[in-house]
Amino acid sequence: MMKGEQQKIYHKGSNRKINAFITLLYPSNKIKFKISKSRTSADFINHLKSIGNYIKKNKIKRFILVTDNATFHVSRKTKQFIENQLHWLTVIFLPKRSPNLNPVETRVNRNLKKDVCANHNYGTEENLTNAVTRYLRCIGC
């Protein structure tokens, strides 16, 4: 902007959010993600099931998942689900309150918030989800 001016971004009073579950795949650096309106343990289990389908397609023997300690990662429902999937899945939890160890946080999440979410009014939730999916598909998967 010119000196002394400031850009204005108009928005509605409400700020409804959408949630995205993101996993980085090693060593291919691709991204698997699932977008949902809520973030309960049922949504997280849905995301894990989609990863299971991906593994069956590519015939991968074992999948090691490294997660942080969000409430829906540690809840009773998800623990029960993981115990039944032990033949292909092992879970490692990061230490508490250490987002610097999580590469999703630094590599994907930061740029996504900066480029897509900040300083723009999408109007409806559909437009926002479309923009997020377009952005994440550009990066990988």
Binding site: M2, K3, K8, I9, K12, V116, A118, N119
Partner: protein, 211 residues
């Protein structure tokens, strides 16, 4: 030997000293310093030896200063140096047009321009390698500054109207809920200007009493 003296007013002296501070050109500075030495009362030949020039040059500079003022001293060189390819006037106008639009119109998934993003886009247009530092210079010459955009409500007027009504209602309800309260006078709620007028009236009366 008769020595010619140069005398100036205070304003013109201050103007000359400011000119000496501000110039980046060494020739302009040399001419101005010759005039400054002349003001102190030195003859032409000693000034010439101080500045390593012929005394006729010193004479000519001072004559031109007497006729035209500071414009006589300024260097008359134009069109010197290489003509810029990237930061020419044509390209600067292009950059100004680009910045006025959002980067989404050009296919980038970003909401605000950054210098690096602008540099990558300009290289595709011009077909020349443009560094981020070069783009910063162009943007800086145009007088464009990066500033964080501000959020604003779409229908702000409706929002403020409704908020006034709600705040008024809260005041009344709080007063009514208190038992044995004197209550709020209607004047306070409806017209805030009434209180202000009362204040002015009291003040005016106080001043009249003193006089």
């Amino acid at each position: 030997m008769k020595v010619e003296h140069l005398e100036l007013s205070k304003l013109k002296k201050a103007e000359l000293y400011d000119f000496m501070k501000g110039t980046r050109d060494k020739e302009e500075y040399r001419r101005a310093s010759a005039i400054k030495q002349k003001l102190e009362g030195l003859p032409y030949r000693t000034i010439a030896t101080n500045l390593d020039v012929n005394y006729r040059n010193v004479y000519n500079w001072i004559q031109e200063y007497k006729e035209h003022g500071l414009d006589g001293i300024r260097s008359k060189r134009k069109n010197a140096g290489r003509i810029p390819k990237i930061s020419s006037d044509k390209n600067k106008e292009k950059v100004k047009e680009i910045i006025s639009k959002s980067p989404r119109t050009f296919g980038y998934l970003k909401n605000t321009w950054s210098i690096r993003l602008l540099a990558t886009y300009i290289t595709t247009i011009l077909g020349m390698n443009v560094s981020p530092m070069q783009t910063w210079r162009i943007v800086h010459d145009l007088g464009i500054v990066s500033k964080r955009p501000k959020l604003a409500l779409e229908h702000a007027e409706d929002y403020t109207k409704k908020k006034k009504i709600v705040d008024n209602y809260k005041k009344v309800s709080a007063a009514l809920l208190k038992k044995n309260s004197p209550g709020i006078r209607r004047r306070d709620l409806a017209k805030p200007s009434a209180i202000h007028n009362q204040y002015i009236h009291d003040e005016r009366r106080a001043t009249e009493d003193i006089s």
